[in-house]
Symmetry: C2
Subunit: 209 residues, 2 copies
Amino acid sequence: MMTLFTFDRAPEFAHGFVRDIRIRWALEEAALPYTVASVPFEPRRHLAQQPFGQVPFLRDGEVELFESGAILLHLGELSEHLLPRAVPTRAQAISWLFAAFNSVEMETLPWVYFHFNRVQNQPGWLAVLEKRRDRRLDSMETALAGRQWLGEDFSIADIAMSDVLRLVGHLGGLADYPACRDYVTRASARPAFIKAHQDQLAYFARTAD
Amino acid sequence: MMTLFTFDRAPEFAHGFVRDIRIRWALEEAALPYTVASVPFEPRRHLAQQPFGQVPFLRDGEVELFESGAILLHLGELSEHLLPRAVPTRAQAISWLFAAFNSVEMETLPWVYFHFNRVQNQPGWLAVLEKRRDRRLDSMETALAGRQWLGEDFSIADIAMSDVLRLVGHLGGLADYPACRDYVTRASARPAFIKAHQDQLAYFARTAD
């Protein structure tokens, strides 16, 4: 049985958004059995398992993985419900998986952090961050127009991309992006997401301050 | 034969750092045959191949990939010189591959962009970016201390990670990180990197303004 590791607690604003949700969701989609274990939020001493002191990480027998992208890919290899088997469509799904973690999240997360770390109200820099964020959202709006999922079928790429966009939308960043909003809504309506989300909320509620 | 696509030209400050270098490097390491083709830097009309209008992308027969991480992974599947075959070490290499593109590049590239886009000299925000960058560099300094490569052998993870850190070092960001600096120096001394770097410089020099 696989063990998914997350923190023992998280700040309340992060409940529902801690990245273990991406893995819980994939495991639920594929109906793979798993247990959840935790490491301390502070002090962070799990550097042997996760060199940046982050979560999630996963243990599957002798295999250990960190980074949610790598874990999603591992689960995709275990289940064709998560990653298509035909070589060309598999390659597109993996391309989109990396796009979620690099091209898109790399340009949206600085804006998210600015939201939480405003430094002396710096409107010039906020404008730069919004412009970078919107350049990517423009591309995603085009890519998602008229499409249900990034590929023909739902895949790990959709788990990653919709979770990246869900956080942007949660902070009001998708107001001008209806196709992105609809995509997040569609993804978040999947029973496996709903289960994963409820499980994460319940997990952190147990240990809330 | 594989075809690697890059831009037909690039601004001079980017020569030697356009991301096709990651793919050229991997192809040279594995001695895989390839040709290089280009798409216009402006106007960008290759959205069917690369939804963000970026480079590189790769065509390998019926397989098309975008995002340098996805392409590196594809090449890793083709050559054990690029990705170990034993399942546990492969999983660690893929974890580090995603770490390069998400945990590390996501926190260093905003600082790089600030370097090129300073808005009204905003020292408060620069301090935030440096702090975020250095938190990741601290982790990498620890991870690389006493190690030659991220895994036992050189892999696609080292191509990605050392290229991310090479740009940081180029802009002066590794002054306090000797293990990261040595790692970049060691990676950049590999014959395959030197060949890829020279090829990229020659490619863009042809079309320089």
